[in-house]
Symmetry: C2
Subunit: 123 residues, 2 copies
Amino acid sequence: MTTMSPPAPELQPRLRFPDQGSKAFGPGKAELLRRIADTGSIRTAARELGMSYNRAWLLVRDMNGLFREPLVVATRGGDRRGGAALSPLGAEVLARYTRMEASCLRATRADWQALRRLLRPSD
Amino acid sequence: MTTMSPPAPELQPRLRFPDQGSKAFGPGKAELLRRIADTGSIRTAARELGMSYNRAWLLVRDMNGLFREPLVVATRGGDRRGGAALSPLGAEVLARYTRMEASCLRATRADWQALRRLLRPSD
């Protein structure tokens, strides 16, 4: 009989690798990659995420160093300050990571639905 | 031809819920539950995890409040300071969470194996 239900609690799978070290790849870096792919600009991606350009640039540098080749590369083109794009490797990493998140959610759905019913309802 | 390889990087699935709020249930609380189940004592579990008793107690309080019934209950018995055990609900939550971690790892294995080969080898 409630007319306004709070949003149902969701499961967050935060997949991180490698397991050692502070520069791991995880959901934050994946989202930054996604925004760079969408906007063609580290600066715009950073702004969309409420992050300083400097912070985004450092995250990109860390990501690029984590893999055999850079994930994000500079582009030249219309934007007079230059732009950024995902390398083929960057696109592959983002696609695989995105699929892993979806696979994890699907594989855990039955247990999560059961657990969710055991949570105390929030007001 | 290497004689000493560094350990292979591993994927960490950090499953957290609910998605809002700072008192979410995740891998840290699950591990605390596991140790309490094993040792029958919040104090011993805390010591094994390198955590203060006070910190462990607060985490238990938060967990107990997150669900419809407490996950950890006090026991009386041999230990003169009393002990702790998982309630049936606590055992169910821990079992489901543990299975979710395993399911997530299994479901993401193929992509993770491919991603792992794209990582720069660590020295």
